[in-house]
């Protein structure tokens, strides 16, 4: 059995060890990944809308995070790493503008406004008591106060009105043909690109899943034109090319309609559309096309009418589709043959 002194000694050693570990934990610099995350949360992803590179899944943001990690490994300080990014992208890359230089007023303005407001409120409650004034000179306090408030309110309302009226004058439309993607990506009108150009772009990226969206847009264009032969091939490639669920559903739905409409294969058409509906349930357009096949291909007007009703109960339906479904529903419910 260990003597009491030896036991005390081992307790002491243990305590010292615990203190040493605690000191290492407390005083050690934050792990590299924590630093990378902290830097990444300050830097705006240049191809996103107000998103930090640490949060963005875009390739540009991922590359920038990799660069941040590499620079941390090379021993650079946080400020040196941020400065490197600012050298190429400029100050607008920071999510929080620096509290110096031209952006200092962004930080000071709220404080100034708060100060002015506080001063105004303080003065409002610091009116000299009426009994300090000669009785004859004492104004009706409540009267001057309310007049002052009316003045203040009038000035604010007037200022607001001028601001609202002026804003419209200065708003500029993005110049045509001069917009940039990144932030302006949604301004890009794919309709302005010819089928031939889209064909060339997707052909150059035959096995790139990132191009699926563009290929689907092209295929849908052919589908709308009734050019099933061209559309068919593109939908097949999308399905072979690691499609996202919504992309696969889009392709299955239209393939299903085409095998029915083009080849008269109702069962296969329904099977394909059902595969799309497994991926994106309640897709109104898919349910509508399925209803059309059941009605026109299998002659089952009742089931079709049920499907059309369920389509009409979904929200956000395209006006044109809604018209078509309503017409078809009326006809199917009356037991008519499909047109």
């Amino acid at each position: 059995m260990p003597s009491p002194s030896r036991r005390t000694g081992s307790w002491l050693a243990l305590a010292l060890l615990a203190v040493a570990v605690a000191m290492v934990v407390v005083t050690a610099p934050p792990p590299a990944e924590d630093r990378a995350q902290a830097i990444g949360s300050q830097v705006r992803c240049p191809v996103c809308q107000g998103e930090a590179i640490v949060d963005s899944p875009s390739e540009t943001a991922r590359n920038m995070m990799d660069l941040v990690r590499a620079r941390i490994d090379e021993g650079l300080t946080d400020q040196q790493i941020i400065d490197e990014l600012l050298t190429s992208y400029g100050g607008s890359l920071l999510l929080n503008p620096p509290a110096r230089g031209a952006t200092l007023w962004l930080w000071l303005a709220p404080l100034v406004a708060l100060g002015v407001g506080t001063a105004m409120v303080a003065r409002r409650f610091h009116v000299a008591p009426a009994d300090h004034l000669p009785a004859a000179a004492a104004p009706p306090v409540s009267g001057t106060l309310s007049r002052r408030w009316i003045w203040g309110a009038a000035v604010l309302v007037l200022g607001g009105a001028v601001a609202v009226a002026t804003v419209g004058q200065f708003q500029q439309a993005r110049p045509e043909d001069q917009s940039l993607s990144g932030v302006a990506g949604e301004d890009f009108d794919p309709d302005s690109v010819s089928n031939e150009t889209l064909e060339a772009v997707v052909a150059a990226n035959a096995d790139n899943p990132a191009i699926n969206g563009m290929r689907l847009a092209l295929a849908n264009r052919y589908f709308e034109e009734g050019n099933y032969q061209q559309a068919f091939g593109h939908y097949e490639i999308v399905l072979d090319n690691q499609p996202a669920p919504n992309e696969a559903a889009n392709a299955f739905t239209r393939l299903g309609w085409m095998v029915f409409d083009g080849n008269g294969e109702a069962d296969l058409g329904i099977e394909l559309i059902d595969r799309g509906l497994e991926l994106v349930p309640n897709d109104a357009f898919a349910i509508y096309l399925k209803g059309r096949i059941i009605w026109c291909g299998q002659g089952d007007a009742d089931t079709a009418a049920d499907l059309f009703s369920s389509v009409l109960s979904s929200t956000g339906l395209d006006a044109e589709i809604q018209d078509r479904v309503e017409t078809d529903l009326a006809a199917a419910a009356a037991g008519e043959d499909c047109q």
């Binding site: 240049p46 191809v47 390739e59 540009t60 590359n63 990799d66 660069l67 990014l85 050298t87 190429s88 992208y89 400029g90 607008s92 303005a109 002015v116 001063a119 105004m120 003065r123 409002r124 002052r148 003045w151 203040g152 000035v155 604010l156 007037l158 200022g159 607001g160 001028v162 601001a163 609202v164 002026t166 804003v167 419209g168 200065f170 708003q171 500029q172 439309a173 993005r174 043909d177 001069q178 917009s179 940039l180 993607s181 990144g182 932030v183 302006a184 990506g185 890009f188 690109v193 150009t197 060339a200 772009v201 150059a204 990226n205 790139n208 990132a210 191009i211 699926n212 969206g213 563009m214």
Partner: protein, 195 residues
């Protein structure tokens, strides 16, 4: 209470000024902020060749006017300008001008297929940027983006959107004449495949 009234007036005036600033600035594309690289030394292009034939030696570019273009096979406007970039690389080869095209977020085989299809110049240099370092160093927002580097290695021009032979030729002429053309916006750019 004169001060209170003056304070209220100042606040209202400030609100109007802010409204005007915001309304005029928000119409602008933030990406149109002039590149901070203009007037600065161009980043070094220590990159591998696109065809996998090894590392490129950036000292080849010293003392020459360099046109640095970022492109990708998924980029629609890049198709429009590729022919003109090739023609420019050939036309200016005798005047110590080098066109460097860097594939941006694109698989090497796709970028090579793009060049094989539309055409490439024996006088131009085609590089890969596998981890996007060159694109970050140049502050690329979306492609196509083209930078013009003077003989002293300073970035003196930047074009956003598809260039053409006229823009490329006149800008290179200006750089050769010692001018600093600055930034010009020519059209649409794309920030990634599928955009």
């Amino acid at each position: 209470m004169r001060w209170a009234r003056i304070g209220a007036l100042a606040l209202a005036a400030g609100a109007v000024v802010l409204a005007v600033i915001f309304s005029t600035r928000f119409g602008n594309d933030p990406n149109l902020v002039p590149s901070p690289l203009l007037g600065q030394p161009a980043p070094t292009l220590a990159l591998p060749f696109l065809d996998g034939s090894g590392p490129f030696d950036p000292s080849v570019l010293e003392g020459r006017v360099v046109v640095v273009n970022f492109f990708a096979s998924w980029c629609v406007p890049c198709r429009e300008e590729q022919v003109d970039l090739t023609a420019t690389a050939n036309a200016f080869a005798s005047r110590e001008v080098i066109v460097v095209e860097i594939a941006y977020q694109d698989a090497a085989e796709n970028a090579l297929a793009f060049l094989n299809e539309i055409g490439a110049s024996p006088n131009a240099i085609y590089l890969a940027d596998p981890d996007g370092r060159a694109a970050i160093a140049f502050g690329v927002f979306g492609i196509p983006e083209t930078f013009f580097v003077a003989t002293d290695g300073t970035v003196v021009g930047k074009a956003l959107g598809a260039t053409d032979a006229l823009v490329l030729g006149s800008t290179i002429d200006a750089v050769l004449a010692g001018e600093r053309p600055g930034q010009q916006v020519l059209g649409e750019t794309f920030d990634g495949p599928g955009s």
